[in-house]
Point group: C2
């Protein structure tokens, strides 16, 4: 709970903060925001992480000071674990021996901490750090604001996803008051790639097709494309969503060759169409509208199986009632 | 001024609302928002426009009732003209004979109305309509909220552009409280295209190249591409920005063939790089970071001239100080 977190901070002095492996904007932004908050309260605090910070986020204040570790090697009064579903997600040994404060916004999060502050109504852990700052009577400095704002932007898809609430936008407004330039954060998040992203996009976009019904789009990324363009992790962020701009497309399948005859698959859907269950039937998983799996074997055959499974799911839904964007996507009628 | 607008509405009954030709999200959203507000106050009000509403915006409540006219054909106490730089922008005859209320958020707007309410601090005219609603003591209904929210989203590029203020986000928060589902509006704005957008994107993306310095990207759209894909107006929204995701790219040139040997050109830039002055040297115009022009003649030659002009501008800037993203894009340093 929030009050326990406030009390813990007030009564202790030496903290570490960590987040999950392959950290995203919310993991990095919320960790940095909390670190700036603790320092503004004259606490001894540092961020530790197993993996590198994605290069674009190195533009955030303090991101260069994150210390890479694979096991706990110092003494702390408590370790904050940000946006992790379980104690193993940070990939740091001996973390389970620490006084752990588990801060997350996923309802499904395991209560692995000594203190567990889980708030599923928060759009991002960053939003919770803003709340913590207010609860503890801290000042929202420009540094805190920038880090937390980036967390909000990345975890809500720039205030597009259904997790965007009036509270999210109110907090964003307060962060701008505290000195954030929204366009500066957008530059960091969206325009900090290398040319390799453009080059890879050209090649992947060229493969986009749709099935006979026109409702399912699919696309491919070969090992050769990655080699030719020099693409790095993250360069293909969001590619899977591109075909969804078409109103008539309900789902998108993006297959990436990871080694010959082995593919990582991303699935995306709109509305009530559930691609998590499709992914599960291929030993994968995820959320209703965003899921993934690994498949092996003949590319054409596997792709065709995935697309067919989705087409069948759409047909089944259409029999009950014509598929449509879920209620929350419908506007009130005049 | 706002108080004059409030008084006018309170003391009159029969209104029309219009906006500029080829209306955008702010023009349509703010007009619809005002229309819903006036009706909630039991006023007689309608929206008139010369051009069709873009099909995606027809999903907004009330958009189907907009009446197409080319001249004023009814009696009104006053006509609201939304987001227009001058009295001719709506393309409606006899408008200059009316009691005109000019509502705009561009500082450069001519004061062509009997009443002129110009607020350059507003991110969108939609934001002003929210302010009007509060000032007049109206209730922010779900219909008003949805229309105004769409105006905010489109005119701020989903809260990315520098015109996004703490006030913009505060208003957005209030609109969500009034019933807006942000993800529903995003579906309308970003995912309501036809497959032709995807097909055109594939062809245009395939042409993207950069110059020798790597700082200027350029791309083409032929008449044949449009014909083959069945693309319609708006299908290429945002294509010009795609190469700007690369940090090293400072400008983008997008040439569209409108008839053989005649091209419409869009220019985009980052930071201090001024493409309006480039456009002006080709008899075009625009803003510092977003401008356009028309050119004729040999395609390769014209493209090369445009790219060279931008490369020269970058070189000239680099001599003064190395080109960089403008200050407001820089984050505070740790």
């Amino acid at each position: 709970m929030l009050s326990q977190v406030v009390e813990l901070i007030e009564n202790n002095n030496k903290f570490a903060i960590t987040t999950h492996v392959r950290p995203d904007g919310d993991g990095i932004g919320s960790s940095l925001g909390l670190n700036w908050l603790l320092r503004s309260l004259d606490k001894d605090s540092e961020i530790i992480a197993r993996d590198d910070v994605p290069s674009s986020y190195l533009q955030l204040p303090g991101a260069g000071d994150i210390r890479k570790v694979s096991e706990i090697d110092r003494e702390y009064d408590a370790v904050f674990v940000m946006e992790c579903s379980d104690i193993k997600r940070p990939g740091i040994a001996r973390l389970d021996e620490q006084f752990v404060v588990n801060i997350d916004h996923h309802a499904t999060c395991e209560h692995f901490g000594t203190i567990n502050w889980i708030d599923p109504t928060a759009s991002a852990v960053g939003e919770m750090i803003y709340n913590l700052c207010k609860a503890i009577g801290g000042r929202v400095t420009k540094e805190i604001a920038e880090c937390v704002y980036l967390a909000l932007v990345t975890d809500t898809g720039s205030f597009h996803f259904p997790n965007t609430t009036d509270r999210t936008l109110k907090v964003a407004s307060e962060l701008v008051k505290a000195g954030v330039e929204p366009s500066a954060i957008s530059e960091v998040v969206y325009n900090s790639y290398s040319w390799s992203r453009v080059a890879l996009m050209q090649k992947v976009m060229a493969t986009v097709k749709r099935d006979e019904t026109g409702k399912v789009a699919f696309m491919r990324q070969t090992l050769e494309m990655v080699e030719e363009t020099g693409a790095v992790d993250g360069d293909n962020n969001g590619f899977v969503n591109m075909p969804l701009v078409a109103k008539e497309v309900f789902a998108s399948v993006y297959m990436r060759e990871v080694e010959p005859n082995s593919y990582r698959v991303s699935l995306r859907s709109k509305g009530d169409l559930n691609v998590a269950s499709i992914a599960e039937s291929f030993d994968g998983g995820g959320h209703k509208n965003a899921a993934g799996c690994r498949v092996e074997g003949n590319w054409d055959k596997r792709e065709s199986e995935l697309v067919s499974a989705i087409v069948e799911a759409i047909k089944k839904m259409d029999k009950q009632k014509p598929i449509q964007i879920k209620e929350e996507f419908e506007l009130s009628l005049a």
